[in-house]
């Protein structure tokens, strides 16, 4: 174990020393680290004066944590170049082969590079933040609490791990430094968006919500590190000199997997699709479990907490019931308001969005979106319960008829998304990351085209023409 860490540190230490001997790397980093806090300090003063004129005290309270987050982000985005060129740069300079020919393990090489990639920008970020904190003691602005400061620093650390781990995956997969640098925007832009979301959380004022961001970013980083270590191949680093985009080859890999050995559609449904369904048994069980848990949690939350938030008097309750009854009566006209094709399109689009989010986040965001939807179902049932309507009855009449198909389609699609995400972070000796992605997508499309689309079509027809009738039938029991 000790020898293992020594080897990781050996790789990292050499990189540290190497970087700090290159003034072209050090000078801009030091300049940025030293100058930016002063700029931010001036901006803070301007903001204080501006807010002072309009009484924006609430915003002022949150200004410093926000600026700290921004100051932390800037050196991260700049020093990302160190991580981006960690492997591909060595490859271009021809220094990678002696290193790869050495007895160092793959994970020692990878984690050594990761360590230096994270530590360098973090040092610059934290020094910048400290300079800024010293500078603002002169200003008439609220100093953040220790708790909030710790949260923001933790978030900056999580950003560093996320950005660097992504950059190193790019560095291993890219064939040239130029390509790696071009791909950097795929790291910087999403994190910039993330930062905006976190800024909203800071100004929103509920500090504890930042924990969700920290946990989410850390989880994503862990998955990316896992992806990087899983797909780190010495052979891959040496084997490819140039990459050409071969659409024909991509298409062949995709269709080869999608069609399998089937010679007819019947064959495909009889052999290939069941094979895929067999493979997603475990993710399906996880999705079912999570889905039920989300419905139950949301239902309980509404039932327990909502009465406390809202003072529902019997009079208001009656008005709501009347309104609901009225709406249910109007359901007669639903087919005139919304057509089955539109509903089908909407649901299919939602499933595709879950896939896209899932692929970008190794399944996590796809599953999160699914859980939000499940939460809504639980919330509606909880609301019904508060109004005295049997949630079981509402579920049986309003959700189950079309839900048999719609929920099945969604469960299976999300399970396939989860499987695709898991596949990407699982070591595969014989496939490149690109091939693996195509295989994962082909498997997902098997489920989507083979089951989800037909089921969603049936569900849309039922939801427009059958479910409203059933809901109307249960109105008298409200």
């Amino acid at each position: 174990m000790r020898r293992n860490w020594e080897a990781i540190w050996m790789v990292a230490r050499r990189e540290f020393v190497d970087q700090f001997r290159d003034w072209r790397i050090v000078a801009p980093m030091v300049l940025l680290m030293a100058l930016f806090p002063f700029i931010a300090d001036d901006t803070t003063q301007e903001a204080i004066e501006f807010m002072g004129r309009f009484g924006g005290n609430l915003i002022l309270e949150r200004l410093v944590p926000f600026v700290i987050l921004v100051i932390g982000f800037f050196p991260l985005s700049f020093t990302l170049v160190v991580a981006l060129e960690s492997f591909v740069g060595e490859k271009e300079r021809g220094t990678i082969e002696p290193l790869l020919s050495s007895p160092l393990d793959d994970h020692q090489l990878y984690l050594g590079k990761l360590l230096v990639g994270i530590a360098t920008p973090l040092v610059f970020s934290f020094v910048s933040i400290v300079i800024y904190l010293i500078l603002i003691t002169r200003r008439d602005v609220a100093f953040p609490s220790f708790y909030l400061l710790a949260l923001v620093l933790l978030l900056t650390f999580a950003h560093a791990v996320l950005m660097v781990s992504s950059a190193i995956v790019i560095s291993v997969q890219a064939t040239t430094v130029r390509a790696a640098n071009l791909l950097a925007s795929f790291v910087v832009v999403p994190v910039a968006f993330l930062l905006q979301g976190e800024t909203a959380l800071i100004f929103w004022g509920n500090e504890s919500v930042l924990w969700y961001a920290i946990v989410g970013v850390t989880l994503l980083s862990a998955l990316i590190v896992r992806l990087g270590v899983s797909h780190f191949r010495r052979e891959y680093l040496l084997g490819r000199e140039i990459d050409t985009l071969n659409f024909k080859q991509l298409w062949l890999v995709f269709t080869g997997r999608f069609v399998g050995n089937a010679e007819s559609i019947r064959d495909w449904y009889a052999v290939e699709l069941p094979e895929t369904l067999k493979q997603i048994r475990r993710p399906l069980a996880i999705v079912l479990l999570l889905g039920v848990a989300a419905v139950a949690a949301s239902y309980l939350w509404v039932v327990v907490n909502v009465p406390g938030y809202l003072d529902i008097s019997p009079e208001i309750e009656n008005r709501i019931k009347t309104l609901v009854n009225q709406n249910l009566t109007d359901l007669d006209d639903l087919s005139g308001q919304i057509s089955a094709p539109v509903l089908f399109y909407h649901n299919a689009r939602a499933v595709v969005i879950m896939l896209l989010l899932g692929v970008a986040s190794f399944g996590t965001l796809g599953v999160t979106l699914f859980l939000v939807n499940m939460g809504l179902v639980g919330g509606v049932l909880g609301g019904a319960s508060l109004l005295g309507v049997s949630p079981g009855l509402l579920f049986a009449a309003g959700i189950l008829p079309h839900g048999i198909f719609e929920l099945s389609a969604v469960f299976l699609s999300v399970a396939a998304t989860l499987k695709a995400g898991a596949l990407l972070v699982t070591p595969q000796q014989d496939k490149s990351l690109g091939e693996l992605l195509l295989v994962a997508l082909a498997d997902w499309f098997r489920v989507f085209i083979g089951i989800a689309l037909p089921f969603l079509a049936i569900a849309a027809v039922i939801e427009v023409y059958v479910t409203p009738q059933l809901l109307q039938m249960i109105v008298p029991y409200f």
Partner: protein
């Protein structure tokens, strides 16, 4: 020791870089791997270093299977890569120390070994300078020192003397020869045929991933260029029309003052031939083997492989 059987590598684009390479290099032997650029030499060496996984066949290096024990293989192999691969902002002694650490040498061993190698290759004075300031030859010597740092039992050297001046090349060749005497197993990939001829016990010629020829230099010469040739030189014009040739001897060319013979078994035929010449009172000045270079073997083999006529 290096032992391979049917060693083959196919890349993702279905290109077979190496096909069916079978080698056997024992401790104390040097194998020179010759071939054009892109013939598969580097791919073969990378498989022997456990950097590339063979698609087919197997290889055992220093007693370890390259697929099953890649780490042990790398631990026992010293590799000089095509590019020197130096970290240019590190000094010579830092660089050797770094690789010594990677190979698990303790501080004392690193210092001793590093000093020896820097002294031997004449880099001691430059050892505190960053290798980016070194000349091409010095860089190559430092890279070679790196590959020797952990005293590996197997050495895989790609163009070990490229970019070196004649003195340095000689120094490197001497070191390689010395290592052979210490029972190291050595493979050299080179385009320098004179160097291969001077150093190698065995020579393998690789073309489009396949070994075309493999054997000792004498074996290759005999196989490719035919039986050995000997030349008799005379002080004056000599009429050899009445010369009775022993079995297995034929005259290849003649002039007034010389005769060239192709001889199947020189040990048996040469004494008889010299006797026949002196019996005829031939004014014999010298009788010697016609020198045949590895270059001829190589060029002829390559020409035949490409279906071209070989011009000697």
């Amino acid at each position: 020791m290096i032992e391979t059987n049917d060693l083959s590598k196919q890349f993702n684009n279905n290109f077979w870089a190496v096909r069916g390479v079978t080698l056997d290099v024992q401790p104390g032997q040097i194998l020179a791997l010759l071939g054009q650029n892109g013939a598969g030499k580097t791919t073969t060496v990378r498989m022997l270093t456990a950097l590339l996984a063979p698609t087919r066949g197997y290889a055992r290096v220093a007693g370890y299977d390259v697929t099953k024990n890649p780490k042990e293989v790398r631990m026992n192999v010293g590799v000089l890569t095509e590019q020197h691969g130096l970290y240019l902002r590190m000094t010579g002694d830092e660089y050797l120390d770094y690789f010594g650490k990677i190979y698990g040498l303790d501080a004392q061993a690193r210092a001793t070994r590093s000093k020896y190698l820097l002294d031997y290759f004449g880099l001691a004075e430059a050892s505190r300078r960053r290798s980016g300031e070194y000349s091409k030859g010095m860089k190559q010597k430092l890279a070679l020192a790196r590959s020797l740092m952990h005293s590996p039992s197997v050495l895989l050297l790609d163009e070990p003397t490229s970019a070196m001046d004649p003195e340095s090349s000689r120094l490197v060749r001497d070191e390689i020869a010395r290592l052979r005497s210490f029972q190291r197993t050595i493979v050299i990939c080179t385009h320098n045929l004179a160097e291969a001829e001077a150093l190698a016990d065995h020579i393998a010629i690789i073309y489009r991933g396949k070994i075309l020829l493999n054997g000792t230099l004498d074996e290759l010469k005999r196989r490719v260029l035919g039986p050995m040739e000997y030349e008799a030189r005379f002080a004056d014009a000599f009429d050899a029309s009445g010369l009775s040739l022993p079995p297995g001897v034929e005259v290849v060319s003649r002039s007034e003052t010389s005769l060239k013979f192709r001889i199947e078994s020189p040990q048996v035929a040469n004494p008889k031939l010299v006797h026949a010449l002196t019996s005829m009172n031939a004014p014999l000045i010298s009788f010697h083997e016609v020198s045949r270079k590895l270059e001829q073997v190589y060029l002829k083999t390559m020409a035949e492989a490409q279906g071209l006529a070989y011009a000697a």
